[in-house]
């Protein structure tokens, strides 16, 4: 169910595809089972690979004996980390992963050896033939343990990575914009709160899978379920020590990504190397358990927040202090750390802002980017905090927010540029649709309404590795028969980026979608697009596609103008015909006009690229946060909670999203509904958790550091029976930076869901759960607490006492 609010103008009234609803270009192939995912590939003489994984959370590898495995019939090759010693990683500052561990393992599930055999079963059996001698090292399994200062003598054994800022503190950040202390002094109300957000994982339906091939021409081809073929291409060139021109990476259709297939991975590198060693194609598909170890999901974050507010509701100062449990490797962690501070400022004006964070290494699966990357945790804290302030001020929570919104064309305290902000409209529409003001009562009735808001970037302003090249490139060629082929490195992970690309080119060239052929995500064929992450694709490839299509449109109109003897300025292409703008006179087909254009100009092809505007402050760390534009979302949740047991049901979700301009309305609504689902699932139940205990200890169910629930049955997620009705409202702000005014849709709508649920539960039963997930058990504890006459607040009670470095002081833009 969806409603759309639209500012109609002449430009929009003339659009054929943009803003309408049409089927995904690859939708029917998916419904017919035709789509070939990575594991669906079978090449002649293909071998199957498996990796032997560490049973210890932290251990030195003393020796690996593969001799018995090599003798097993059916085994074609066995490799260890010595074959590929060059480290890699997604960020240049954390090249800390190895294809197979060389000196030590840092988590249960770290791979140490790989086997290629004639079938999967033989490969798996051969893993048991490999003998690894480990020396157990102390394991670090919590934020508190990770923060512990290490003596010089402890470093060799207890430090997970030598390059950490100190001990096991991977990265520490301290920034202050303005003067928070004087901001607090000006406040009428002060609050200091602790929040905890548990880690959770992407759980894509498709397990990671990759096929490597070493051709007769000496070139290596990798087919992989990846969101970022370009970054995988770079990692392969580095680790295999081959020129990138000798490597081809093809992203197969991705069966669910959500950020979980955005790093270069060990199995991708290993299949290429095994293909080179054996001269045969090699496939590796991870088991579901292995997918849980591969992870890169939501960081567990422990937060301390202090905020000052005037009696009018304006925020005088905000101070966030975050600890992130990073797991065993860097992944996107440095970016994640900055993201836990960067985007709190783009919704409501904050006069003074201080942000301090530490990411610690622990001996668990590495965390990274999951839908919302680093922003859901602090956004949860901020939106629950505002709910508490609204109560202090005796104000409606919607009213509190509506009074204080970042204006269009403004700079935030941390130097981010906000071009358009549709949050006010989102809040108004979502509260009207849900009758929030009328239905939400202060009395404890078991029925509750909660509001949450959020904002997300439409693409990171900077690439992962430092360069000034375009972020997205599109190439178009037109066949004499009128077929238009669009080449782009962008990767469809189900969000519909292929459809966006086709729709924009069809719109620009005035033809039907069926004449547009999309070729994507192949480093041999397609210009670089940085990949499907940071919600960047619609905005960036969309702009690149427009840039590529317009010169071709000009050529076609010019050629038609000469033949028809009508000035080009009076011609247009519409519905596959070229004719006068006022529809009078002769019309010719697109196909004929294309042939005239090829006669006049030669082969018809063009390129277009997009580079985001250079924005943001000049301080260290200013690279994380800037984006061409920001999407805004507001969510109302209605819940019914049993005041005795804490069991609750989500009755309905209303979500309004500032999409700028929908390219394909149906796909946008699909992204909103999917985000609401994923947000609800993590708000209510999802947890990536590990066995605790003393370092090296082992219970009957496994050692400390072992994933507790690496299966789809035990790792709970919402089913079709649990999912409530979602009412989506699209708000269009027509942002000047986006293609036709578009913003992102894939991540932003998730952000307000978790705090909306927390606020609704409080409204229903008076229990504050200041952590995620919000389980009935926690609500039950809160209810018991209330019955004893206490606060009924459930959440972290302790916060590590750690000294942060002196913050970097930056003046807010207004004072400069």
């Amino acid at each position: 169910m969806a409603k759309k609010l639209k500012a109609v103008n002449d430009f929009q009234a003339n659009l054929i595809w943009i803003g309408k609803s049409w089927a995904q270009v690859d939708g029917l192939a998916k419904a017919k089972g035709e789509t070939v995912y990575a594991d669906d590939m079978f090449l002649p003489r293909m071998l199957y690979a498996k990796m032997l994984r560490s049973p210890h959370p932290h251990a030195r590898i003393k020796s690996i004996d593969v001799s018995r495995a090599l003798k097993r019939p059916g085994v074609v090759a066995v490799m260890t980390g010595k074959e590929l010693p060059i480290p890699f990683g997604i960020l240049p500052v954390s090249q800390d992963e190895e294809a197979l561990c060389v000196e030590k393992v840092r988590m249960i599930g770290d791979p140490v050896a790989a086997v290629a055999a004639i079938d999967e079963e033989t490969a798996e059996a051969a893993l048991e033939d490999i003998v690894v001698e480990y020396e157990i090292l102390p394991s670090i399994l919590s934020i508190e343990e990770g923060l512990k200062e290490l003596e010089e003598s402890e470093l060799a054994d207890a430090q997970i990575h030598k390059y950490a800022d100190s001990g096991n503190i991977h990265k520490q950040v301290a920034l202050e914009f303005g003067d928070t202390e004087s901001g607090f002094a000006e406040a009428d109300f002060l609050r200091e709160e602790l929040f905890y957000y548990e880690g959770n994982t992407h759980l894509p339906m498709e397990q990671h899978s990759a096929v490597g091939q070493h051709g007769a021409d000496g070139r290596v081809t990798l087919w992989s379920s990846t969101q970022t073929p370009h970054y995988v291409h770079r990692a392969l060139a580095k680790v295999l020590e081959m020129p990138a021109s000798q490597i081809r990476v093809i992203a197969t259709p991705v069966g669910g990504g959500f950020g979980g297939k955005t790093d270069p991975f060990q199995h991708e590198i290993v299949v290429c190397k095994l293909a080179m060693m054996t001269g045969r194609p090699v496939k590796m598909t991870l088991t579901r358990e292995e997918v849980f170890y591969t992870h890169r999901g939501r960081h567990p974050v422990l937060m301390w927040v202090k905020a000052g507010m005037k009696s009018d509701g304006s925020i005088t100062a905000l101070h966030f202090r975050n600890f992130l449990d990073g797991g065993a490797y860097g992944s996107y962690g440095v970016a994640s750390t900055f993201y836990t501070g960067a985007l709190q400022t783009v919704t409501y004006p904050i006069a003074n802002y201080k942000f301090e964070a530490m990411r610690v290494f622990t001996n668990k699966a590495p965390c990274g980017p999951k839908r919302g990357h680093g922003t859901p945790q602090p956004r949860f804290a901020l939106e629950v905090l505002l709910d508490k302030f609204a109560e202090d001020l005796n104000l409606d929570p919607a009213e509190l927010r509506l009074r204080h919104l970042i204006p269009d064309n403004s700079l935030t305290v941390n130097h981010l540029t906000v071009t358009t902000n549709g949050l006010g409209e989102c809040i108004r529409k979502v509260t009207e649709a849900s009758k929030f003001k009328q239905k939400r009562t202060a009395s404890i009735s078991g029925k509750g309404f909660g509001l949450g808001c959020g904002s997300y970037l439409s693409g990171a302003g900077l690439p992962i590795y430092w360069n000034k090249m375009p972020h997205s490139g599109v190439q178009i060629k037109i066949d004499r028969g009128g077929g238009v082929t669009v080449f782009c490195g962008s990767t469809d992970i189900g969000q519909g980026s292929n459809s966006v690309l086709a729709g924009i080119v069809a719109e620009e060239l005035g033809i039907h979608l069926q004449h547009v052929i999309v070729v994507t995500a192949d480093t041999d064929l397609t210009p670089v697009d940085l990949g499907s992450y940071s919600s960047r694709v619609t905005l960036m490839t969309g702009n690149a596609a427009i840039a590529a299509a317009r010169p071709l449109r000009e050529k076609i109109l010019t050629a038609a103008s000469e033949v028809l003897k009508i000035p080009a300025g009076e011609l247009t292409i519409r519905n596959g015909n070229i004719g006068k703008l006022n529809s009078s006179g002769e019309r010719v087909s697109f196909e004929d006009a294309v042939q005239w254009a090829e006669t006049k100009f030669g082969t018809l092809g063009s390129v277009g690229s997009y580079t985001p505007p250079r924005r943001g402050g000049k301080f260290k760390g200013a690279g994380v946060g800037p984006s061409p534009n920001y999407s805004y979302s507001a969510c109302v949740a209605e819940v019914t909670c049993d005041a005795e047991t804490g069991l609750y049901r989500v009755d309905k979700i209303w979500l309004a999203h500032d999409i700028g301009q929908a390219i394909n309305e149906k796909l946008v609504i699909g992204q909103v509904e999917g985000s609401v689902y994923m947000g609800l699932s993590e708000a209510m139940m999802e947890e990536q958790v590990y066995r605790t205990g003393k370092s090296g200890s082992s219970g009957i169910a496994g050692p400390a550091g072992l994933h507790k629930i690496p299966s789809m049955l035990d790792y709970k997620s919402l089913t079709s029976l649990d999912m409530p009705e979602v009412e989506t409202i699209l708000v269009e702000t027509h942002d000047p930076e986006g293609p036709y005014g578009a913003k992102e849709a894939g991540q932003g709508p998730l952000l307000p869901v978790m705090p909306a649920i927390a606020n609704a539960i409080y409204n229903a039963v008076g229990v504050r759960v200041d952590e995620v997930p919000i389980t009935p058990e926690k609500i039950f504890q809160g209810l018991q607490d209330l019955n004893k006459g206490k606060s009924g607040r459930i959440g972290p009670k302790k916060f590590p006492n750690v000294t942060f470095p002196e913050p970097l002081h930056i003046d807010p833009p207004s004072s400069g």
Binding site: G33, M205, Q207, R288, G494, M723
Partner: protein, 167 residues
Amino acid sequence: MKQLISLKINGESHEVWTSTHKTLLEVLREDLRLTGTKHGCELGECGACSVLIDGESILSCLVLPVEVQRRDIQTIEGLAETGSSGADVKSHPLQTAFAEQGASQCGYCSPAMLMTAKALLDKNPNPDSQEIRQALSGTLCRCTGYSKIIEAVEQAAAEVQKGAALG
């Protein structure tokens, strides 16, 4: 140990010489290359491998082929309507509805969702939304939030009803 197994899949007979311990899922995908049927866990938890056996939606990762010899197995590849020659005539209304409604995002759970929905519609041509939710609850989807899938099944049900009325 290998054995010759006779399977009837999408109306066609297949004789497969294969290991007896392989699951139906593995035989479909690896021996017969019917890769439309997917896998998400191979432990009977996610529902992605559902196929129809005598019209019932069954997890193919929990079935041994020897158990289902000569029974009527239907996979996503056999969902389209076929003519007497065996040629595909047109997409099943569920397939069209999935494409039109945007019920497939990544598409990985779609074959299982579609086969399970077919089993439902064959038994109950006019299910309400709760019955659809119930029928599909064993198959996980991480993209859509299920809304568009349920709307697509409703659309297909209406389509099938209309077809039956005309026929």
